[in-house]
C-alpha cells in the first residue's frame, strides 16, 4: 500500500517531462530532423528554476497564484486516479466530480493570472481558453457517466479499476467511443494540435501560450512542469481505458503503464505532425460534435 503510493508519486514526479521529449522527437522524426534529446525538458526545467523572477508593476498576488495552483492541481488530481494497474492512493465515492473541478480551479487561476497583467493579448487568450474548456466539460462528464454505468462504481478508482476488462466485453462500442472522446479532451485541455499550436510564435494564433507570456524564471518552470503533469494525468485516463489489463505485480503494472504512456506520447506526436490546427470558428463545432458522440455512447450504454 505504502510502496504503491510511493511508486505512484515517483511516476508522477519523474515521468511527465519525458512525455514532452517523446512528443518532440516524434515531430522531429516526421520533419526529417534529429530533434532535441529525449531529456531536453528536464534540462529546460533545471535552467528555468535557476533563474530569477521578473514581476510587472501591474500584477498582484493573483499573478503568482496561477503557476502555483497550476502545479498543485495535477498532483492532487493524480492521487485520485489509478496509474494503469496501480490503484489510486485516495479514492471515495464521487471523486470524479472533484477531479473535473480541480482542473476547472486550475484553469480559473491561470486565466485570472493572465488577466492580472492588464494586457489585452492575455485577455484574448484567456477568453479562447475558457470557451474551449467550457465546451469540453460536458464531454468529459458524459464520458465519466458512461464509465460509471459500465462499472457500477462512483469513484475513479473503481471506474478505471480491475473491472474495466469485463466492461470492454459488455459495452465495447460505447467504451470505444468514449476512448476517442477522452483523447479529444486530452488534446484540447493540453493545447495540442488540432486545437492549439504549442510551438506557434504568432501572438494572434496563440491560445494557451499567450496566457503564460509574462511569467519568467521559476514561475514559468512551474507552469511547464504543471502542464506536463496535466498531460500525464489526463493521458493516464486514456491509457488505462485503452489497456485495461492487470498483471498482478507492481513492477509489471508499472512497466505496462509506462509503455502505454510512451505510446500515447508517440500518438500525440503523430497527430500533431499530420494535422494542421483547425480554424478557430470550427473548433467549437468539433467540440460540440465530440459532446454529441459521448451522449450517443451514453445512449448505447443505457439501452
Amino acid at each position: 500500500m505504502i510502496v504503491g503510493t510511493i511508486l505512484h508519486l515517483l511516476l508522477l514526479f519523474l515521468l511527465p517531462p519525458l512525455l514532452l521529449g517523446v512528443i518532440g522527437k516524434t515531430k522531429a522524426l516526421f520533419g526529417g530532423r534529429v530533434g532535441a534529446p529525449f531529456l531536453q525538458p528536464y534540462y529546460d526545467l533545471a535552467k528555468l528554476f535557476r533563474k530569477g523572477f521578473v514581476f510587472s508593476d501591474t500584477t498582484t498576488w493573483v499573478f503568482s497564484a496561477g503557476p502555483a495552483v497550476g502545479l498543485a492541481v495535477p498532483v492532487l488530481a493524480a492521487l485520485l486516479i489509478p496509474f494503469g494497474g496501480l490503484a489510486a492512493p485516495i479514492s471515495f465515492s464521487g471523486d470524479l466530480i472533484l477531479f473535473v473541478y480541480l482542473f476547472a480551479l486550475a484553469r480559473f487561476f491561470t486565466v485570472a493570472s493572465a488577466l492580472d497583467t492588464g494586457s489585452s493579448f492575455e485577455g484574448m487568450g484567456g477568453a479562447r481558453e475558457v470557451t474551449f474548456s467550457c465546451l469540453v466539460e460536458p464531454t468529459i462528464l458524459f464520458a465519466f457517466i458512461v464509465l460509471v454505468r459500465v462499472s457500477g462504481s462512483l469513484s475513479l478508482g473503481g471506474m478505471f479499476g480491475p473491472d474495466l476488462r469485463e466492461g470492454w466485453t459488455m459495452g465495447g462500442a460505447a467504451l470505444g467511443l468514449i476512448l476517442v472522446c477522452l483523447f479529444v479532451v486530452l488534446l484540447v485541455e493540453n493545447c495540442r494540435i488540432p486545437f492549439d499550436d504549442p510551438n506557434t510564435h504568432l501572438e494572434l494564433t496563440m491560445i494557451h501560450e499567450v496566457m503564460v507570456l509574462d511569467h519568467s524564471g521559476p514561475a514559468f518552470g512551474m507552469i511547464l512542469y504543471g502542464a506536463a503533469m496535466k498531460l500525464f494525468v489526463l493521458g493516464a485516463l486514456v491509457v488505462r481505458l485503452a489497456l485495461p489489463w492487470q498483471t498482478g505485480s507492481l513492477p509489471g503494472d508499472a512497466a505496462l503503464f509506462i509503455a502505454g504512456m510512451l505510446l500515447l506520447a508517440v500518438l500525440i506526436g503523430v497527430v500533431e505532425s499530420v494535422m494542421a490546427r483547425l480554424r478557430l470558428v470550427r473548433i467549437p463545432q468539433v467540440l460540440i460534435g465530440t459532446t454529441l458522440i459521448s451522449v450517443f455512447a451514453l445512449v448505447l450504454v443505457l439501452r
Binding site: 465495447g172 462500442a173 470505444g176 467511443l177 470550427r282 467549437p284 463545432q285 468539433v286 460540440i288 460534435g289 454529441l292 458522440i293 451522449v295 450517443f296 445512449v299 448505447l300 439501452r303
Partner: protein, 212 residues
C-alpha cells in the same frame, strides 16, 4: 458475428455525424462512399457466405463504394467547387438535430414489433438514423451536390432495412433498388451539369432568382 455487425453499424452512425458536420465536399463524398462500402459487407456477415449474399455485397461495393463516388468527384471537378457554404440553420444546430433524430430512432425502434432475433441489435436504429440524417442533409444544405449526397445516404438507410429482408426478398428487387439508385445519380449528374452551365452556379438559393 453479432459483434462485427454492431461495430459496422456503429461506424455507419459515426459517418452520419461526420457528414453532417463537415464543410468540405470531398470529405462528404468520401464519407458517404465509405458508408456504402461498410454497408456492402453487411449481407455477408448477416446471412453468411452464400452466392446471393456475395453477389449483393459485390454489387453494393462496386456501385456505392466505387462507381457513384467516382461520378460525384468528376462532377465537382467539372464545376470546380471545393467547399460547402453555411447550411440553412448552421452547423451546430444541424449536428444537434442529427443527434436528436439518432436518439429518437433508438427510442422509437424499441417500440416497434420486431422479430425476436432483431430486437437488441443496432439494425433498425441505424437504418432510421441514416434515413433521418439523409433527410437533414437534403433539407438543410444549399449546394446541390450535398443534396445528392443526402439522397444517397437515404438510400443507404433503406439498404440496411433491405438487408434484414434479403432472405425473404427475391434478388430482382435488390437489383432494382440498386439500378434505381444508379439511374437517379445519372439524372442528377446531368441536371447539375446543365444547371451549372446555364447559370454558372449550383447554389440553389440563387436559382429562385429566376422569377424576375
Amino acid at each position: 458475428m453479432h459483434e462485427v455487425n454492431n461495430l459496422l453499424l456503429l461506424l455507419v452512425i459515426l459517418l452520419n455525424f461526420f457528414t453532417l458536420g463537415s464543410a468540405r465536399l470531398g470529405a462528404c463524398i468520401r464519407a458517404v462512399a465509405i458508408q456504402g462500402a461498410i454497408l456492402s459487407f453487411l449481407p455477408v456477415t448477416v446471412h453468411g457466405v452464400n452466392p446471393h449474399a456475395l453477389f449483393l455485397s459485390a454489387g453494393a461495393l462496386a456501385l456505392k463504394g466505387l462507381f457513384i463516388p467516382w461520378l460525384l468527384f468528376r462532377a465537382i471537378r467539372e464545376v470546380r467547387i471545393r467547399r460547402e457554404v453555411e447550411p440553412l440553420i448552421g452547423y451546430v444546430p444541424t449536428l444537434l438535430l442529427g443527434a436528436l433524430t439518432t436518439a429518437g430512432s433508438f427510442i422509437f425502434s424499441d417500440f416497434l414489433p420486431l422479430v425476436e432475433e432483431h430486437h437488441g441489435t443496432l439494425f433498425i436504429p441505424t437504418a432510421l438514423a441514416t434515413l433521418f440524417t439523409g433527410f437533414l442533409l437534403l433539407i438543410t444544405r444549399r449546394k446541390a451536390i450535398t443534396q445528392v449526397l443526402g439522397y444517397l445516404m437515404l438510400e443507404n438507410g433503406i439498404f440496411v432495412f433491405g438487408i434484414l429482408l434479403s432472405a425473404a426478398m427475391p434478388l430482382m428487387v435488390e437489383a432494382g433498388v440498386l439500378l434505381d439508385l444508379l439511374v437517379a445519380i445519372f439524372v442528377m449528374g446531368i441536371v447539375l451539369n446543365h444547371i451549372n452551365r446555364e447559370f454558372s452556379t449550383l447554389n440553389t438559393e440563387r436559382l429562385s432568382a429566376l422569377r424576375e
